[in-house]
Every structure is written in structure tokens, then in C-alpha cells.
């Protein structure tokens, strides 16, 4: 029981990393990135492809990928996605959905359908005994810590820095923010750039913890989305809490029957939607 609880929370840490980017992009510009999961998978494959160039160092390849992700996110938002924003959600949905299909098929062409993983130098098999017959993996624990740190960092960025103030301003009222001298298109581009860095971290850790395959994206998107909705929109800690709930629900489901884990996660999401549509920790702006 305690074991299931701990495993669920640790799984939730990974989902938090998947979900934070979605939460950030929706919070700042009401953009639903339906390619979120595919970008996670794409980032993982970039790390896998770069690893041989840096003496097979997973850490080195990941660190190399982060600035690439930042630049890619900035460029994508600035020159593609900004043109799709507006009252009508359709253009941004179709464009990101189209990107999702393109990414899946490009990866399929380049890397085949086989699942791949990243070598973490034995870190993924190391464990810590907690006593009472409960042990936790060192890697899941590190992922959990990383999720906590990134959530705290994003929340602090939003609450305390000038950039965070700009994010909140364009989110509340784009026109007024622009009258005050902000260039909303650049602010949006920075938001997506930061979201993509978090996405890249999530992708690399996913590939270290289990495997990634080109067709994994949509499922990861659904997990990220469920975490955001369960947690409530507009707060990163809410997203983190939502990811914990989702991780726990899936882990309990897996314990009951391996075929039903994801199904139980979906049902908990739908139940939250019915019972508490505003989510656990809502702080919706505008």
C-alpha cells in the first residue's frame, strides 16, 4: 500500500514535467498545444541522436538539447503559432495537431517504430531502501526532485520577476499590455521557449526512466492535459498536484490490473471534471 503510494507520487513527478509546459502555454496565451506529447518524444530523440557526439554522455547531450529546445520554441511561437492565435481556437488546434502528425512520421522515418531509451549510467537501476521493505529508485526520486524544483522555479518566475509580470500582463489583457509597451508576440515567444526547455527535460527523463517510441506522443499529451485540468488552471502548484493525483490513480489501477491502469487515470480525470470542474487548486486569471 505504502509502496503503491510512493510509486504513484514518483510517477506523478514525471507527469508534472510533461504538464508544466502545457499549463504555461495555455496560461499565457490560451494556446492548447496538441503536439505537447510529440514535442516531448521529439526532444527525447534529439538527446538520443546527440549522445554519440558528446562521448555518449546522456547528461552532456541533454544539456546540449536545452538551448536548442529554447530556440526552437521561440522560433515556432514567433513565426508560426502567433499567427494562429485569436478568439477562434480552431487555427491553433489544427496547426499543432498537424505538427503532431508531421513529427510522428518524421521520427518514424528516421528512427523506425522501435522504442528507444537513454543510458543513464546505471542510475536507473540504483535504489534506496527506506526500511519496512519499501525501496525507491534513485532515478524516479531524482525526477521527482527535478519536478518540484522546476515547479517552484516557474512559480517564482511568474510571481517575482519582470518577465513573469509581462507573462501575467499579456495573459490578463493583451491590448492594455501592448499599450504599456510590451511586445506581446515576443512575450509569447519567450513563454513557449521556456515551455520547450521543460518539455526537453521531461523528454530526456522519460527516455532514461523507460522508453520512447515515435507514436508515444498522443498518450503523453493526454496525461499532461489531465494533470493540468485535475490541478486547476492558472497555477503551477495546481498542475503539480494534478500530476500527483494522476500518478497515484494510475498506480492504483496498475496494481488492480495491469490492463486498467491508464483507464483508471482517465476515469479519475473525468470524475474530477464532473465533481470539481475548476480543479484542485484553481487560480484562473481572466
Amino acid at each position: 500500500m505504502l509502496d503503491t503510494l510512493i510509486q504513484g507520487l514518483l510517477l506523478g513527478g514525471l507527469y508534472a514535467l510533461f504538464a508544466l509546459g502545457l499549463s504555461l502555454m495555455f496560461g499565457v496565451m490560451r494556446l492548447t498545444n496538441t503536439a505537447q506529447g510529440d514535442f516531448i518524444v521529439l526532444a527525447a530523440f534529439v538527446v538520443i541522436a546527440l549522445a554519440p557526439l558528446v562521448a555518449r554522455s546522456t547528461l552532456g547531450a541533454t544539456l546540449l538539447t536545452l538551448p536548442l529546445a529554447f530556440a526552437a520554441g521561440y522560433a515556432l511561437q514567433r513565426w508560426v503559432l502567433n499567427g494562429t492565435l485569436g478568439r477562434d481556437p480552431l487555427p491553433s488546434l489544427v496547426v499543432t495537431f498537424g505538427l503532431s502528425i508531421v513529427i510522428q512520421n518524421v521520427l518514424l522515418e528516421l528512427f523506425s517504430a522501435d522504442p528507444r531509451s537513454l543510458d543513464s549510467g546505471g542510475f536507473n537501476t540504483r535504489g534506496l531502501a527506506l526500511g519496512g521493505g519499501v525501496a525507491v529508485g534513485a532515478l524516479p526520486l531524482a525526477i521527482f526532485g527535478m519536478a518540484l524544483a522546476i515547479t517552484a522555479a516557474l512559480q517564482a518566475l511568474f510571481d517575482r520577476t519582470a518577465l513573469g509580470r509581462a507573462f501575467r500582463a499579456v495573459s490578463d489583457d493583451r491590448e492594455i499590455a501592448e499599450l504599456m509597451g510590451l511586445d506581446a508576440r515576443k512575450v509569447y515567444a519567450l513563454a513557449t521557449a521556456i515551455a520547450f526547455v521543460v518539455i526537453a527535460v521531461g523528454g530526456a527523463l522519460q527516455a532514461m526512466r523507460t522508453t520512447v517510441a515515435p507514436s508515444d506522443g498522443p498518450l503523453l499529451l493526454l496525461f499532461a492535459f489531465e494533470a493540468v485540468i485535475i490541478g486547476g488552471m492558472g497555477s503551477f502548484w495546481g498542475t503539480f498536484a494534478g500530476a500527483m493525483v494522476l500518478g497515484l490513480a494510475q498506480q492504483v489501477g496498475f496494481r488492480l490490473d495491469p490492463g486498467w491502469g491508464i483507464w483508471v487515470g482517465h476515469l479519475v480525470f473525468l470524475a474530477v471534471l464532473v465533481v470539481r470542474p475548476q480543479g484542485l487548486l484553481p487560480r484562473t486569471r481572466g
Binding site: 495555455f26 490560451r30 494556446l31 492548447t32 496538441t34 508560426v80 499567427g83 494562429t84 477562434d88 481556437p89 480552431l90 487555427p91 491553433s92 488546434l93 489544427v94 496547426v95 495537431f97 498537424g98 505538427l99 503532431s100 502528425i101 508531421v102 510522428q104 512520421n105 518524421v106 518514424l108 522515418e109 498522443p218 499529451l221 493526454l222 492535459f225 489531465e226 485540468i229 490492463g259 486498467w260 491508464i262 483507464w263 482517465h266 476515469l267 480525470f269 473525468l270 471534471l273 464532473v274 470542474p277
Partner: protein, 346 residues
């Protein structure tokens, strides 16, 4: 004093009606002379088309962009199969019954889905479709994850089965177009167009926004389920991954966006283009799908109105006008008279 009257059709639309009826009459005789592979092709593209038309009704007119319409396509297929295999109903009778049953299921589904708006509605409906997929994958009575065959058709001769399937598909296409067209020209359709243009303004004029949207959602579920049931009657085999694949909605989005969203001609043009591309390039697998994704992106960014929207803007064509013009001339032609459009296309 000038007499004012409401004009609701154009010369193009009247010509289109005559040509359309002639095409349908010719097509109806196909089982007598056409090869069975042509009829199979027609049934398949008809299912894609009806499904896309329903997605267009939901997203283009109702403003509800869903990535989860495959839930109803798959439900239609599975309900038809269960009625046929388990309850002994003739599969052709089971098609409309499955569609009705799916619409009934769509009602409680809407209570959950309508909690979300915009982009989050889109992904929320996708989660709901996944719940149905996983549920059927765990139901051993319909073959679980690997699916099962439609055994209920065994007693029917092949030629009869193919002809019946074809006529059902033709009827589905005609009824879907006519149904959507008449719906949009009705009072409820006018309300829907008003909601699309401005929800707040429509509500202030007495339109029951929630109720109208619910009707559209249920109608789209019915149509999608009809297409699904028909598709799996033609296919004879069903599996959760095929029935609830997100590709159904992906292809529908492609057809509607290419043809032009929010107009009935859009999915027709889109389905023809999709069919042609599929014929020519589907052997290229991943490259073909990459191409479809790229085309959808480019069209969305640079040609928001789609191909038909562009043609309409250029030449004022409208095969299925849902507009109301006020005309002063005794024999009016909408393009020349001074007109007031009440409910316009995008």
C-alpha cells in the same frame, strides 16, 4: 414603394440541385453495372465524408472543435456489431439503431465534455474517446483488444450484401447533406449561425445557447455513429484500435480544413481531394501522412477559408446557400441587387 422579399437561393444553387439529383439517380443504378471494387471505394469514402460533414457541423457551425469524434464512430460500429452478433438483428437494420443508441450515449457524455471549452474541449473529448477504446479493448464478449468479425452477415449473399451496403452509403450521403442543409436553413440553424458569430449577442436575442449546442452535439454523434456502423458493415471486421483511432478525426479535420470550414461544400471538396491524394500517394506511408499534416498547417495559416472559400470569394459560388438576402428587384439575383445578409458564411 419597393416590395422587399427574402431570397434564399441562387441560380448556381438551383443548377446544383438539378445536377446533384441527376448524379444520385445515375449512382443508384451502379450495382447493376459497376465493378464491386468501385462500390467498395464509394462506401469507404462515403463513410469518411459523412463523418467529416458531421465534424464540420460540430466545429464549423457549432464552434465545438473536437478531437474525439472517433468515440461516436467506434461506438456506432460496436453497437451495430453487438446488435447483429449478439442480439440477432439484421446488421442493416442495426445501422440506424446503433446511431440512435450512440446519440443516447452522447447525452450523458455531453454533460462531461461541456465542462470544457475551446482547446481544452478538444483534448477532453479525445480522453473520452480513449476511455471507450480501452473499455472495449477489455470486453472479451466483443473480442477484447484484437477485435472480432461481423458474423451476422453470413446468411446474406455477397452481391446482395454489396449492393445493399452501397445503397445505404449513397442514402447516408444524400440524407446527411440534405439534413445538414435543411437544419442550417431552419430557425434552429439560424440560431446556430448567430451563436457562431457571437455567443453573447445570440444569447441576448433570446437564443438558448446551451440547448442549441447540445442538439448539434447529439446530431453530430448520430451522424458519426451512422458512418461508423456503415463502415464496419462494409469492412466485416472491427477492433478497438481501428474503431476508436484518432485518425478518423484527423482525416475529417483535413478534409474540412482543405475544403473550407463552416460551409457544406467544404467537406465535399475536401473528401474528393482526400480521396484523390489517398489513391495517388497512400503507398508512400509516412511521407504521405507527413504531407497531409503539412498541407493542413499551410492551408490553416495562409488560406483560412479553404479551397471552396477561395472559389466562393472569387466567383460568388454557393451550391448550398444558407443566407437570407433582402431583395428589392422583382426577379432578384443576389449578387446584383442591394442586399442585406442576415446570416453570412465566414
Amino acid at each position: 414603394m419597393t416590395e422587399l422579399r427574402v431570397v434564399r437561393s441562387t441560380r448556381t444553387s438551383r443548377v446544383a440541385l438539378v445536377v446533384g439529383i441527376a448524379l444520385v439517380v445515375v449512382a443508384a443504378t451502379m450495382p447493376a453495372w459497376a465493378e464491386s471494387s468501385w462500390m467498395r471505394d464509394f462506401v469507404e469514402i462515403a463513410c469518411y465524408f459523412v463523418f467529416a460533414l458531421m465534424w464540420n457541423l460540430l466545429a464549423g457551425y457549432g464552434g465545438m472543435v473536437s478531437i474525439g469524434q472517433q468515440a461516436f464512430f467506434g461506438l456506432g460500429g460496436y453497437l451495430m456489431l453487438m446488435l447483429g452478433n449478439l442480439a440477432g438483428v439484421n446488421p442493416f437494420v442495426a445501422i440506424p439503431l446503433a446511431a440512435l443508441g450512440t446519440a443516447a450515449i452522447a447525452l450523458p457524455v455531453s454533460w462531461i465534455a461541456f465542462r470544457l471549452q475551446g482547446g481544452y474541449f478538444a483534448i477532453g473529448t479525445w480522453v473520452i474517446a480513449e476511455v471507450f477504446r480501452l473499455s472495449f479493448a477489455n470486453m472479451s464478449i466483443v473480442g477484447g483488444g484484437s477485435g472480432t468479425s461481423l458474423t451476422a452477415l453470413r446468411g446474406i449473399e455477397r452481391a446482395t450484401r454489396e449492393a445493399l451496403t452501397f445503397w445505404f452509403a449513397l442514402a447516408a450521403v444524400v440524407l446527411a447533406i440534405a439534413g445538414v442543409y435543411l437544419f442550417l436553413r431552419s430557425k434552429l440553424g439560424l440560431a446556430l449561425l448567430a451563436i457562431r458569430d457571437s455567443e453573447v449577442a445570440a444569447e441576448s436575442q433570446g437564443v438558448d445557447v446551451r440547448r442549441t449546442k447540445l442538439w448539434v452535439y447529439l446530431a453530430a454523434a448520430f451522424g458519426a455513429a451512422f458512418a461508423g456502423a456503415l463502415y464496419f458493415v462494409g469492412n466485416l471486421r472491427i477492433s478497438p484500435d481501428a474503431a476508436f483511432s484518432v485518425n478518423w478525426t484527423a482525416f475529417a479535420i483535413f478534409m474540412v480544413v482543405i475544403g473550407g470550414i463552416g460551409r457544406i461544400e467544404g467537406p465535399i471538396v475536401g473528401a474528393l481531394i482526400f480521396w484523390a491524394l489517398n489513391r495517388a500517394f497512400s503507398d508512400y506511408g509516412t511521407w504521405y501522412l507527413m504531407g497531409l499534416g503539412l498541407i493542413a498547417i499551410v492551408v490553416t495559416i495562409f488560406f483560412k477559408q479553404g479551397l471552396w472559400g477561395w472559389l466562393q470569394q472569387r466567383w460568388g459560388w454557393s451550391l448550398f446557400p444558407t443566407m437570407r438576402w433582402l431583395a428589392a428587384a422583382p426577379s432578384p439575383s443576389p449578387s446584383s441587387s442591394s442586399e442585406v445578409s442576415h446570416a453570412q458564411h465566414r
